[in-house]
């Protein structure tokens, strides 16, 4: 799932200076699960902004709402009257949500409250770690299900590099060396021959921005 983290408060305050009434819009899917933009965090951010505005003496009204998903046009259109009332929208969704709202309501300024960090999974309660970078040409079949592009500091395709010492990465001694993990996994499954092949560097040329997928409406 998509993992995001809230921006520092001053950045958010800078964005919304001058507006009298804003709508803080939470998203109920990925950013709720990673404790960044769910209904709870919407309430916390609103409370902080109200406190700050009271303290600095500027007047600010805040509407709070959280919808199921902000990456779905139909779900956002429903917010029409609420958005009309606000001078600006502060979206606590990932980048996708912010842009969808901006697209649906072109004349209302939409600001991101979060930094969308990466796609990943929870390591333990409250800790998320990146495991996939959507490089567009999955390599996991050759590494026993461990992605070196993300989890190897240098993103090597034919690791490990010379710097690994007993399974730890030279860049960050805390981190496991991805290629050592890959080696052990393949060894365990008896597929070490997969590592003997040489894999040419990725041709990132083929990735045209922005990515698009067209499926026939079958």
């Amino acid at each position: 799932m998509i993992i995001a983290e809230r921006k520092p408060l001053e950045d958010i305050q800078e964005m919304i200076t001058g507006y009298k009434k804003i709508l803080i819009l939470g998203c109920g899917t990925c950013v709720t699960i990673c404790w960044a933009g769910g209904e709870k965090e919407v309430a916390v951010l609103s409370s902080q902004l109200r406190l700050a505005s009271k303290k600095n003496g500027n007047e600010l009204a805040i509407l709070e709402d959280t919808i199921e998903r902000q990456c779905e046009k139909e779900l956002i259109e429903v917010l029409k009257d609420k958005v009309q009332q606000a001078d600006a929208v502060l979206s606590m969704a990932c980048g996708i949500g912010v842009q969808t709202v901006a697209e649906i309501f072109p004349d209302v300024p939409v600001y991101p409250a979060l930094n969308t960090k990466f796609m990943g999974m929870p390591e333990r309660e409250g800790v998320w770690v990146e495991t996939c970078r959507a490089c567009g040409d999955c390599f996991l079949d050759k590494t026993g299900g461990i992605c070196p592009i993300v989890r190897c500091a240098k993103g090597l395709l034919n690791g490990p590099c010379g710097g690994t010492n007993n399974g730890k990465c030279e860049v960050d001694p805390e981190k496991d060396c991805a290629w050592t993990l890959i080696y052990r996994k393949l060894e365990r499954q008896g597929r070490l021959d997969v590592m003997r092949k040489y894999y040419p560097p990725r041709n990132f040329q083929t990735v045209i921005r922005p990515g698009k997928i067209e499926t026939l409406q079958a």
């Binding site: 709720t32 699960i33 404790w35 769910g38 209904e39 965090e41 309430a43």
Partner: protein, 557 residues
């Protein structure tokens, strides 16, 4: 739910002492013209029978559906007042108490300020009352069978007592025979009881009982579900069977293990462990050459263990009686904090057992087939004592049963720092686990002598009986409730719940959501706070109720 709020406020001036500062009549008039307050009453002793009967009548007559009481601490009379409003037909959760005595009149000598605070506190209680929600009771059917894990003396005793309380018990034991340590101990000093006879009597009793089902060489693999319907997967001589239980009792005892790194040497024919010595004592008739002098050493690898000192004293007396050989015990602090242990220590001394206390570890070496020990005897001004013995009996560390780490994660029950069951801080409830319906007894979670272990056995039996006495358990339904539409099934609450009282459930056959098991939930409200989607609501202490008590600020002088 009754739409129209009809608040009844019952003020108590505690034998007109509080009225010295608080002007109850003005408060009464102010309250009476608040919108949804239907009745205000002042009494002098709301904790006594007469006033409570009058209160019940007022509630019924005036059709009050929310009760606010301004009197003394809820900790004292909440339960009594709840039964009064229940008798008047009002749901017990619709009571809000303002503490205007202990936390107001008594705590603040300045009378005007105390009066001001009292009015605020009554207003807060009113605010809270507006957000109170009824909680209904339901009766949940429960499986009344009990699973006892571990066929040692504690498991056997618990099963027998459960059977006396006519609960059906399944007793599973890893080994092929029941008895655990009773098969191993040659004697049970300080108790003058023969372990074999004791075990035989209990096994005979077990076989005569219809409601005890014994499964030997059987192990618990996994448990799903919560109190009232656990489903346990049990491996019995490599075929698995699933059985349902209402409560689970761990009585899997402890193992012993000799750690050579701590001692710095290996076992040999004349350096043996306590358990090996117990075998020798048990089959003493077959022993060919009898050790003329035996030395025990304790407090090296198990310095804080009652069990290791106890087995040393027991075996020392056993050797004296069986072989009459010369016996010495080296120790730091003799652990004799149990019934009859001091007397056992005196019996050993009277039988000629020598006790040498050391602070620094004695040096142990082998010399022409004998064990040479050099020790500084602390009681004789640390003079270097050098002694040699035919046999050295070393102490073993008691370690948790091997599957405890695995079962602890499978069942979400905590371990303490040594790996035994039960976190350290459950000292308030010695046989309880962090999960309702799962109990611990005996040395699988603590370091107990026999009498303490037997006490714990009957404690868990009664706890399980109290839980499963009836077919159905009355419980407050949905005191804490998850709104399935808002729940994102992010598992945060399931991980955070200290009592593992939240389970996954399918909602209208395609969406997964968290659901709180009312029987296992202890109402702490941690899940409601950690939920990122604010999908969990506690009816006792909901967000609205707490926030409503922040209301009337800014009115001070």
């Amino acid at each position: 739910m009754d739409s129209e709020l009809r608040l009844g406020v019952f003020l108590c001036d505690c034998g007109n002492t509080l009225s010295k500062a608080i002007d109850f009549s003005t408060i009464k008039t102010d309250l009476e013209n608040l919108p949804d307050v239907t009745y205000v009453n002042i009494s002098h002793d709301l904790c006594l029978e007469t006033a409570q009967k009058a209160m019940q009548k007022d509630i019924e007559d005036k059709g009050v559906n929310r009760v606010v009481v301004a009197a003394c601490s809820p900790e004292l009379y909440e339960k009594g007042l709840i039964s009064v409003i229940q008798a008047a037909g009002v749901n017990p959760h619709l009571l809000s108490i303002a503490n205007i005595r202990e936390q107001c009149f008594w705590a603040h000598p300045d009378k005007t300020k105390a009066a001001k605070k009292a009015t605020t506190q009554i207003k807060l209680a009113l605010n809270r009352a507006r957000f109170l929600e009824p909680v209904e009771k339901t009766r949940i059917p429960v499986n009344r069978d009990v699973l006892v894990i571990g066929g040692g003396i504690v498991g056997i005793e618990a099963a027998l007592e459960l059977s006396n309380l006519n609960l059906k018990t399944t007793l599973i034991e890893k080994e092929a025979i029941l008895g655990g340590k009773l098969n191993q101990f040659p004697n049970l000093y300080p108790l003058q009881v023969n372990p074999e006879e004791m075990l035989a009597a209990r096994l005979k009793d077990i076989t005569e009982r219809q409601n005890i089902d014994v499964l030997t060489s059987a192990e618990l693999i996994d448990v799903n579900g919560e109190v009232g319907n656990f489903s346990a997967r049990i491996k019995e001589s490599n075929e698995e069977v699933v059985r349902n239980f209402g409560a689970i009792i761990f009585a899997s005892g402890y193992n012993t293990q000799f750690s050579s790194q701590i001692y710095g040497f290996e076992l040999s024919n004349n350096i043996i462990t306590q358990s090996k010595l117990e075998e020798i004592l048990k089959f003493s008739s077959e022993v060919k050459e009898i050790p003329k002098s035996v030395c025990f050493i304790v407090d090296v690898s198990g310095e804080h263990s009652r069990v290791s000192t106890l087995s040393a004293l027991r075996n020392a007396l056993g050797i004296k009686e069986k072989f009459g050989s010369e016996v010495c015990i080296l120790c730091r602090n003799l652990k004799i904090d149990g019934a009859g242990l001091e007397k056992l220590y005196r019996d050993c001394r009277n039988n000629g057992v020598l006790f040498i206390k050391f602070d620094h570890l004695p040096e142990i070496s082998k010399q022409n087939g004998k064990i040479k020990i050099e020790v500084e005897d602390v009681l004789v001004s640390e003079e270097q004592v050098s002694i040699s013995y035919d046999l050295l009996v070393v102490e073993e560390t008691s370690v948790p049963p091997p599957d405890s780490r695995f079962l602890s994660s499978a069942l979400n029950i905590g371990l303490d720092t040594q790996g035994f069951y039960q976190e350290n801080n459950i000292h308030l409830y010695p046989t309880a686990s962090n999960r309702e319906g799962i109990f611990f007894a005996g040395n699988c979670h603590a370091d107990l002598d026999l009498m303490r272990a037997l006490t714990e056995a009957s404690n868990v039996a009664l706890n399980a009986y109290q839980l499963l006495a009836q077919e159905k358990i009355t419980v407050e339904a949905e005191r804490v409730i998850v709104d399935p539409n808002k729940c994102r099934f992010c598992l945060t609450c399931i991980r955070a719940c200290p009592h593992h009282a939240i389970r996954e459930v399918e909602v209208d056959h395609e969406k997964m959501a968290a659901q709180i098991v009312d029987l296992a939930c202890q109402g702490c409200g941690i899940c409601a706070v950690v939920c990122p989607a604010k999908a969990i609501k506690c009816k006792d202490g909901s967000d609205e109720q707490i926030l409503s008590e922040l209301e009337p600020f800014g009115e001070h002088v």
